[in-house]
Symmetry: C2
């Protein structure tokens, strides 16, 4: 009922809905923990974060320091993958409180004998806990404090000794300490979860021979090109057998022609389901060769997992209970009334056999994990139950803590956030439709500067096989470069539906935000290896990303004012503070735009009274600026963007060496 605890610990972060879900971290990268600590009266507090990998017995402690307004902060760096746990302890530090007060009294010449006796009593209580030289040092301090033959100044000095203060802090029994009421979870992923560059292609279009179905082997032949552009994740749409019943034809028409290959997302035929390979793409040996070839090119293969079935999927006959049965004995296909998707049977998560369904779905991931695949783009996760994802991804991550799951949900914000909370490593974003300055600023502030940052890792895509936005239809080269620079520098994770972007396919199906002659329903040819106007720009921006740690994280994104709504300016600084990139983009693909900046110099690490250099890694020029206000002019057909490295004289020469 009663307690002697006095410190209150609230709002410990990172925390997702008060610890209901884990926050996310990256191995080897510092996690900043903050907590509100308040105590009655005016005492000096002691506080630590305790953290450990889940399952380990002992905790590691890091002291919290006071930041501002009763907010305390500490950082720790998780050294292993997987789930970690942490919490906060806080207590009244009686020795430190006494020492602070003694200092104030000494300054005011108001120390009394009893003040020194109080300190001797407090330190004396610690002697028992000390050993060796520490113990001797404490005993000496106690003696000095109480030695009436010593001058007062010497006695006070003994009490104010830094060394004794450190000893006292170490030996503090932390009497009546408070422990935060929750132990919080942190899911620690590998570095590629925090920084990655994705290229999507349809392997069936990878052949260079006319009228030939592409194969995994053809994809291997394309890897040099993809590597040269600087990508590190090669993502393939589903590679499984494609259903024939209700197969969709070119441009998504209801009836397929005899040679139409069908959508790779209509999974399952007599040739197998989610654990099988579409025979025209190759064999499991070919896939293994592709996995290895990607590694040889410094890339990783990502597969698409789409939990849905064509009418021909073996599950439909083997496990009809996993689908919704209709009174006429048929199975409910997907629909968005009045639209019907008769080629797709969704699973029923209110099935009578949830154990069977859940375990089978998990085993699909496990099948491909066993083949060495560690990255999955998950199709439409928002049409599968949230508790399923939390369980499935949790089980998989505990077995394969290096696995990465990208949530392909372009839906309402809270649904997208829910999926991220339930365990998805990455999430597609609204970047695709955020075009104007105010939209972009508001969106990324929400993502990086609110609680969302603790659980949601955005992966920005300018296009996908499903989405050809209005601006990409009409904006031409300046718009492609603009969207590329934005995606690649706003977020550390980004990707593209590669051939279409690289070759600037811009023809939409009339009235729709979709590609005409969509590759989802037909085999395309693409001339990836010949010179094209964007490949070099892509390669350049990706090399800037690789060389600049500032662009390999998201938390430090800062928007700067610039007095023209067509120009957007933002910077990122890596956590060490050594690398700062300032990006300015002309959002108008047609006309030159100019303006004066109003830079946040503190965010840039720049002295307001000294000139500093900005070196355009994109365009090559170097400018000398000073203060907040600097002139910028961008011609969309020449260079739609500046990607400046900020070279401040406040930084040392050694720091610059890294950046250049």
């Amino acid at each position: 009922m009663t307690t002697r605890e006095r410190v209150s610990i609230q709002r410990v972060r990172p925390s997702v809905l008060d610890g209901r879900f884990p926050a996310k971290g990256i191995v080897g990268q510092p996690v900043q923990v903050t907590a509100d600590l308040v105590c009655d009266s005016h005492e000096v507090l002691g506080a630590v974060v305790r953290h450990k990998p889940e399952g380990r017995r002992g905790w590691t402690e890091v002291p919290l320091g006071h930041d501002i307004n009763d907010r305390w902060t500490a950082t720790f760096t998780p050294e292993t993958l997987g789930r970690h746990r942490f919490t906060v302890d806080a207590w009244v530090d009686h020795v430190a409180t006494w020492r602070r007060d003694l200092g104030k009294k000494a300054e005011a010449d108001a120390v009394e004998a009893v003040d020194l006796a109080v300190g001797a009593e407090l330190l004396g209580a610690l002697v028992e806990r000390a050993k060796g030289s520490s113990r001797r040092r404490l005993e000496e301090a106690v003696t000095a404090l109480t030695d009436v033959d010593l001058p007062l100044a010497a006695r006070i000095e003994a009490g104010l000794s830094e060394e004794v203060a450190l000893l006292a802090r170490e030996l503090d029994p932390r009497a009546n300490k408070t422990t935060f009421r929750r132990v919080l979870d942190l899911e620690v992923d590998r570095p590629r979860a925090g920084f990655s560059t994705w290229y999507e292609l349809f392997p069936r279009s990878a052949s260079t021979e006319p009228d030939t179905h592409g194969t995994f082997r053809d994809v291997i032949d394309r890897l040099d090109h993809v590597e040269r552009m600087g990508f590190d994740v090669l993502y393939l749409p589903p590679i499984h057998p494609i259903g024939t019943t209700h197969r969709k034809g070119r441009n998504n028409v209801v009836h397929a022609g005899p040679d139409d290959p069908g959508s790779p997302w209509a999974i399952g035929s007599a040739e197998g389901g989610h654990k099988s390979i579409h025979p025209q793409l190759g064999t499991i040996e070919d896939l293994r060769a592709l996995v290895r070839a990607c590694e040889d090119h410094g890339m990783e293969l990502a597969l698409d997992i789409a939990f849905q079935c064509s009418a021909d999927h073996p599950y439909v006959t083997e496990h009809p209970e996993w689908f919704r049965q209709r009174p006429d004995g048929t199975i409910q296909y997907a629909e968005n009334p009045p639209k019907k998707y008769q080629d797709i049977y969704p699973f029923d998560f209110e099935t009578s056999d949830p154990e069977g369904l859940w375990n089978e779905l998990r085993s699909i991931f496990e099948h491909w994990l066993a083949e060495g695949v560690r990255i999955f783009r998950v199709d439409n996760p928002h049409t599968k139950s949230f508790p399923f994802w939390e369980w499935c991804l949790g089980e998989l991550k505990s077995e394969y803590p290096d696995a990465i799951f990208l949530s392909e949900a372009f839906t309402r914000p809270k649904v997208m956030y829910e999926l991220a909370m339930r365990g998805f490593t990455h999430s597609y974003t609204y970047f695709t439709w955020r075009r104007h300055k105010a939209e972009i600023e508001a969106y990324y502030r929400e993502l990086f500067h609110t609680e969302v940052a603790d659980f949601f890792r955005p992966n920005s895509w300018p296009n996908t096989p499903d989405i050809l936005t209005d601006q990409l239809q009409h904006g031409g080269w300046p718009m492609y470069v603009q969207r590329l620079v934005l995606a690649a520098t706003l977020t550390a994770n980004y990707g593209m539906y590669g051939p279409a972007f690289e070759l600037m396919w811009s023809q939409n199906r009339p009235g729709a935000e979709e590609y005409l002659d969509n590759e989802k329903y037909e085999i395309k040819r693409w001339a990836a290896d010949e010179h094209n106007p964007l490949a070099e720009v892509i390669a350049l921006i990706n090399s800037i990303r690789r060389e600049h740690p500032a662009l390999q994280q998201d938390r430090t994104l800062t928007f700067h004012e610039i007095h023209n709504d067509h120009l957007i300016a933002y910077s990122k600084t890596d956590p060490t503070g050594h690398d700062t990139i300032l990006v300015i983009v002309n959002l108008d693909p047609y006309w030159p735009q100019s303006a004066t900046t109003w830079l946040d110099l503190e965010a840039l690490g720049v002295d307001p009274h000294e000139p500093f250099e900005v070196h355009d890694l994109f365009g090559g020029a170097t400018f000398t600026w000073q203060g907040s206000d600097n002139y910028v002019e961008l011609h969309p057909h020449v260079a739609p963007a500046h990607v400046f490295e900020v070279r401040s004289h406040r930084r040392t020469e050694a720091d610059f060496d890294q950046g250049d």
Copy 2:
């Protein structure tokens, strides 16, 4: 392990730190509950708030409706005082989902027989749960849906019937429903906790005879005057015997003269402690008479509870273990080094006897509660442990749910918030030091438009016996009126250190934000009954508050733009929307200020295309305005403020009758 639950329920509010502490409500006033509900796929959801007074067996349900962006909302009105509990259930409403889809298919002429059969199956499953005419109605619907002899349109109509929809909703078994993971607490207080007007006076100064110690009987004689000014809480500083050891003299000097009465906050002498009455004030019978007299005047008596002791308090000898002992055998007095408060011994909440201390402190409140006192101003609660307050106030409120506790903590924001979370009904605020427009707006937005609103009830004071701000020292009548209007209309709870404010005592102790010849250390005389320049203004503003429900709550406070930093504009509308008050204050006490408003017409409930009237309840004039932009001019020496009643033609005549 597995589950068929599909709906996710997050961020249910009102909630304080995810349900760690209760939110606050007022009996008879609606509580708006919001929750984020998301489900996989595109289903129609059903959801309810369940609520009940703590300890009652059955729950009352209120359906939640979708508001915006997956946020759902409902209101319920607690009908009893004390702790209430509530939570949220949500589920997939399969009948409503089917009905929505049937409607869309019907519109597109795409209904198939199987669609009707699905509905018949869903409704058929409910027949068992229905009785009487409901059952017959459901059976008819099932028959119609499946009757192949009926025209298709009639069968569809049977499925779309509103009546059947309502029946289905009532009978929904809520299969696989999700319950929010917490049951949240709501502390329901009486109306005066939400709306009150406080007047503080020192009873020892209440005598009208020269050189005479005032008594409770003298206070009774002052009640007519206080009532005429419109106050409903009369608050007295501590009424207990005052210590003599280390008693402070006039103007807080260390040594008291023989006739100095001492500070009422130095509690305890040979004559008793916290349960005793200072003999010069009267007897317990006199106090009872004062309690009754206050009731007769439509007021309530509030006492000051200050948990600290003078050196002469009986506790010091009876319970030395409740204080911090020093090595020289003395007790640690209060200090803020190098300042010493030797007349005050604080309790030690790390005492060896927390049970004894906590129970005794609680019994002090119980002693005065038993005398019929229900309102307490608690002195310096931030120097007593937070867990103590949570326990003590929780125990007291469960026994006396009509008790009100005002936290007198002018300290750091998170400490003030912590005390409110731990159970204080009201809190003093920074209003006293918020003078400029931007400061006032930022502060009250934080109080009313963030999570703070769920647990913190501000009580705004322009002055206290401890605080005579710079502006009150120099601003004269215009400043007093300005601060009065702001305190009385920004917050539903406000108060004043009455005689000093009413009589505009403005002389400060040099260099300090304090009254010269502070009443804390001496007996004052005040001529409360003679005509004074502020009493009438106070009476007017308090009568406006009483007549206008808009001013009796805080949540709807809205700031309006006005193009002059010396002018501030804000409005409040009562929850029914019938009463709207628009306040405009000239913050400059010296010069007339004028500007054009830019009103938020929606917040005012005003049609932008129609003229509306604003009637100045304070100054008497009526203006006809239209649109956002209207001219305002305020002369500080004539009228530093407008307090407009907004009379919109969008409201009915009947509504106006109420307001006038």
